[in-house]
Subunit: 469 residues, 2 copies
């Protein structure tokens, strides 16, 4: 395959940082690195080399408009990380230019916003390969490995592949994406050599796909034994043979990127790099998809208002709640075809539910005992004024009027009566919206409209014929 | 248990033939027996003793208003039954008083109507116990056995029990009843001694129940091995140890009679002997059940018009057709809660179907391939303008508009396009009636109204509180 030059130009122009831009970010990062060093120097016995910039920025493999700067602090093993973080926070807080919040991965770290830069300040221990104490310590060796393998020469290929994955909605290892981490993308480029080759190879993937760059395992059977048998994608971490770098990739996204890759191979256009083209939420886009977003689609939205949230925690809670809700609603006799959760993590979230029907059958068939069971009398007196009969199987049956005929009423009942455990922090206020009654609402709420279009049309945009023409 | 005298009086008055009535029937039967003998005498080398009246009439164990007379002809083994029947028919046809039709059980026999009497003229072979050639030959020994065991002394108990079973809708071994044969009832009286004791014992039955009057088997394990393990009621034929006299009793009716017996024991009233009290089909009864026969009950009726039918054949065909129909309709996504077939066997039949809903959800979820399957392209192009997405399991899914949204349209389509095999003789004309649209129809059609009430309320009348008060 030979990609058109205009396409490559387009990608590079839109996603690859120029050397100049990169230099600027690096200079700023370096400045911050040094200032953090000065904050620590007196209290902690630390040398400047123990503060290292890691991740895609120093390797120049980041997407121009989508990157964090990772500053790792390599501490002596006897230092208490909690106390260290507390000290660092108190020091940073003195500077009004620094806006911070604490995050947790395997242990706490600091997210710091400095003007337009987002910094992750991550404490770790100064360990030697491969004897790290926490996953944070390992990142240092990831960096060394990639640089050693010459990722710098390939930085454009990495960026190009990231752009492709991002437009398909599968870039990012965060829970709410469930896609490909930056490190994973870099490994794929090391494996396949270029974006073109990577996409070509992805289009041939099927489940399970195994990549073992360093040949840590003699055969795939051993790999299955270590990582499990039912995992779509296993990429053995070159610096940690016990870790699957692709563990974050959901089955759904594994399928998604294969499908996108197949379509791209057969028709390589810039569409595949224009991020979610229909997600602007504009009225015109709503009208564009009107033929698909029919007003008779049985969609129900649980719309929530709340304060600012931490993405992955909030997303996980939303997902858990919606799964539990689905179970209860389906036990009551409704059928949910598709479910989606959305949030801006600032003030609004929503659970979208596509039903078979929003209204349920009026009656349910209820199975009773055999007449020779002692429970017959109770069943018959309990259902005395209901229709009932002995069926072919010799059991009593009756028809019961369904309690909740409407899905929205049932959902309100479940939430208001706490029939499922709902974390109190998930929302301050909620409402249940039935799609067909509220077309207006969507037209006047660009966020909801955007979510609706995404929910209905999906981000499998390559499969939409009118978007590819 | 001691039954109230008025109750016994009521039953006997309504169901037991008086000696006088019995004498009259026997005289008439005897007259016919002799005239048949004279028809045969010259052509067949036969003696008068070879024509025997069997069944409940000579034993006086028949229900006053519900009996046939069985005339068995015991032939020499070298006589061809088919030729014999042909000869007999040609002879009988000469007498304009005799109206006949040919029926088939194990071999052909003649049903003959003489004024108000129904005669079954059954050819059989003169065999000795237990070396009969056909089941017909065995009937003679059934008769001898019952008489030998003193059934004549107990004739009132037999009649009483038959009346109880009949009112509960489980009397008769015909396919369209699936209940207790007359012979079986007589055996139950021999076993339990009286109607009271029989009902009391039935109320204690559970599955499996085994009755082996003559102790043909040393233990029940052996009985299960011979008759099978999943049979609710096994009554070993005293004169044929390999035969289950209760083979005709459907599981449904086994359950039904236990339930009725339990209710009767706790409240022995004449209700249990008034045959299907709500089956008159009158308007007043319709209104009486109006609270149960709600107009919103999703009932659909396939109403058929036709010529005269033979009961068991027509019933079996109706049942088979309705079962096949149910399968196809449920495969299309509808749910049928209850099904019933009815016929007057003269000109009209109907299949009643109680649905969960008469209208289906507008959309169906259709599962597609995994993207790494070669069928992806076909699936996506086939569904190009439909909503589609890759679900959690990594497969493509789409929503398809359901073809038949209405149950009545689907059924018409199935019948008109012969999507199930429908015997051509089953109807001349059919229509599909949706219950809620046609309340008027039921009010003005007493037969349909009767069937409707029976279908909805069932003949488990003992479980209807307002009928027991």
């Amino acid at each position: 395959m030979r990609l058109p030059e205009e396409l490559i130009d387009y990608i590079d122009r839109n996603f690859c940082p120029s050397k100049k831009e990169w230099k600027l970010i690096m200079d700023k990062s370096e400045e911050i690195r040094r200032s953090i060093f000065f904050l620590l120097r007196n209290e902690y016995n630390i040398v400047e080399e123990d503060l290292v910039l890691l991740g895609s920025v120093p390797r120049m493999t980041y997407l121009k408009d989508d990157y964090d700067v990772d500053l790792f602090i390599r501490l002596e093993k006897d230092i208490d990380i909690k106390l260290f973080i507390e000290f660092l926070i108190s020091e940073i807080s003195k500077d009004p230019n620094y806006k911070i919040r604490i995050r947790y991965a395997d242990h706490p770290y600091i997210e710091m916003y400095v003007r337009d830069l987002k910094f992750n300040i991550v404490p770790s221990y100064k360990t030697s390969y491969p004897n790290w104490l926490s996953p944070m310590d390992r990142s240092y060796f990831h960096h060394l490995y990639l640089v050693d393998k010459g990722i710098n020469e390939l930085y454009k290929e990495v960026v190009r592949l990231k752009a492709f994955l991002k437009a398909s909605g599968v870039y990012g290892a965060e829970v709410y994406v469930g896609g490909f981490s930056g490190y994973l993308v870099e490994l794929l480029i090391l494996k396949y050599g270029s974006m073109e080759e990577a996409i070509y190879n992805i289009s041939k993937w099927s489940t399970p796909t195994i990549i073992d760059l360093e040949g840590h395992y003699p055969n795939s059977n051993l790999i299955f034994e270590v990582f499990g048998y039912n995992i779509p994608l296993i990429v053995v971490d070159p610096v940690d043979k016990g870790r699957n770098v692709a563990a974050s990739v959901k089955r759904k996204n594994f399928s998604k990127i294969i499908s996108a890759a197949k379509y791209f191979i057969s028709n390589p256009t810039i569409k595949f790099f224009k991020e979610s083209p229909y997600l602007s939420g504009s009225k015109s886009l709503y009208y564009k998809y009107k033929d698909m977003i029919k007003p008779d689609l049985p969609i129900l939205i649980i719309y929530m208002e709340h304060g600012e949230k931490i993405e992955d925690i909030h997303y996980s809670q939303l997902e858990r709640v919606s799964r539990k809700l689905k179970n209860v609603v389906e036990k009551e006799g409704f059928k949910i075809f598709k479910m989606g959760v959305y949030s801006d993590y600032i003030s609004r979230s929503a659970i979208f539910l596509l039903f078979s029907e929003l209204e349920k059958a009026k009656y349910e068939k209820v199975r009773g005992p055999y007449p020779y069971m002692s429970s017959e009398e109770k069943f018959l007196s309990k259902n005395s004024f209901r229709i009932k009969w002995i069926d072919e199987d010799g059991r009593w049956y009756t028809l019961k009027e369904s309690r909740y005929l409407k899905a929205d009423e049932l959902i309100k009942h479940i939430i208001d009566n706490r029939l499922i455990r709902i974390p109190s922090e998930i929302y301050d206020k909620y409402s249940v919206i039935v799609m067909n009654e509220s077309q207006e609402l969507f037209l006047n709420n660009s966020l909801l409209s955007k979510w609706l279009i995404n929910f209905v049309v999906g981000d499998e945009f390559w499969a939409l014929p009118h978007l590819l023409t």
